[in-house]
Symmetry: C2
Subunit: 253 residues, 2 copies
């Protein structure tokens, strides 16, 4: 992978009425975001979930592709009438929506000529000039056009394809993080955390997240940065605060 | 609840670095969306997940509050430095960020005067003119200002508060749905589904979702509408297609 010096930022665009209506629980955002960060040093800076409506897809693809280095879309690339991602993106970028020869041949081979019906053929149609994202589990490829990378919505298929994104991405500085789980409530340490955050402004990002575990309340304090030395130094000061305030830790999970 | 004749549409704005980074799996979108539809006839038409950055919160709150009847925000209303939702929304609407007397008194009573520290007091600060969304589980209220309703990020607390939203909402026509789970693949029925969708255009929304269950592939076909008669008639035709194509059903889960 090529390396960028600056931060590389991405958006995820989840396309699907079933996620918006609450029928389907999205699992792709956390998977993609974690994968991008660990493997590519790319941070997800915004996520949108939108319905299967052409003009909404066009509007959001254009806006997000201008704002971020990459967009990853999920959903809408299957064989049925509600799968309109490829057509909509063709319209967004004003390129032809046509059969991709390589995708056609992959799918024809996979299904066999006899079973290669119109629904299946549809999965070979994509914006002219697309590069393929190969699919080792169910053959139908995703595609990349400009800075937009299109993946399926089914989590297990998406997961099987994700490694094939790497060749299209420029690597940014990887975010590293550490966290402590405290047996306390947020308001008991909020003042000290604010001071610590001000001291490490733009160096370490400090987040505080309350949780319940086995009937006890707790707080996760999470430090995130791309700089190991800053992380170590900030963690040291955080541990000093914890000691001074006599806060007990939870075991790491 | 007052009733609207037209569709009532909402956006959900998830505010939180921890969801964007993939550290925390969002569970609020599907819960809120289902609750709004079943109890209020309100459809969620867009979701955005954004970081804890003031200018991003301001931009998205203003844009979404113009586009939709309601916005529901989650996250960023706790006691720590990274909880900036209330301040940011005050800035968005150019109103004072100040103590809400009722919220102050609720929290003072809950914690006791002695333990009502600055972190906890912060949770009583909100945009001037806000109405409270009561919190039966941990006291700190959410708030409503204009068409923006602000809820906490912790799912269990959010769930305990959701009933208290009703008095602020106008009810739309409730979406009803039905579904069949087929032992087939999407491409086997894509042509027939497309024809059926064209027949029921703007009357019934037909979605097709592939899945894996116990090692078998299947397709959920979901019909959604606010019109019972249309739903029944569309389902009848769908069942005819299934019979003609000799597709077996999965048992309903």
């Amino acid at each position: 992978m090529k390396k960028a010096k600056k931060k590389v930022k991405a958006a995820i665009l989840i396309i699907g009425n079933e996620v918006l209506s609450g029928r389907t629980q999205d699992l792709n955002v956390s998977f993609i975001s974690n994968w991008l960060n660990i493997n590519c040093g790319i941070s997800v800076a915004e996520v949108r979930i939108i319905p299967d409506i052409e003009k909404k897809i066009i509007y959001n693809v254009l806006e997000l592709s201008r704002k971020f280095n990459y967009i990853f879309t999920t959903g809408g690339i299957g064989p049925t009438h509600d799968d309109i991602t490829a057509l909509s993106i063709s319209k967004a970028f004003k390129v032809k929506y046509e059969f991709n020869k390589e995708a056609y041949s992959i799918l024809e081979k996979y299904y066999g000529k006899k079973n290669f019906n119109n629904g299946r053929k549809k999965m070979a149609k994509m914006p002219k000039g697309s590069s393929l994202i190969y699919n080792p589990s169910s053959a139908a490829p995703g595609f990349k056009i400009k800075n937009v990378l299109c993946l399926p919505g089914v989590p297990s298929i998406l997961k099987s394809m994700i490694g094939n994104l790497k060749k299209y991405l420029v690597k940014g500085p990887v975010t590293i993080s550490d966290s402590v789980n405290l047996q306390t409530v947020e308001s008991y340490i909020s003042l000290e955390l604010e001071k610590l955050q001000n001291e490490y402004l733009k160096k370490v990002d400090i987040g505080s997240y309350p949780f319940f575990r086995l009937g006890k309340v707790g707080v996760s304090v999470v430090l995130r940065t791309s700089n190991k030395i800053q992380l170590k130094s900030c963690l040291k000061k955080l541990n000093k605060i914890i000691k001074n305030k006599k806060i007990k830790l939870f075991k790491k999970s």
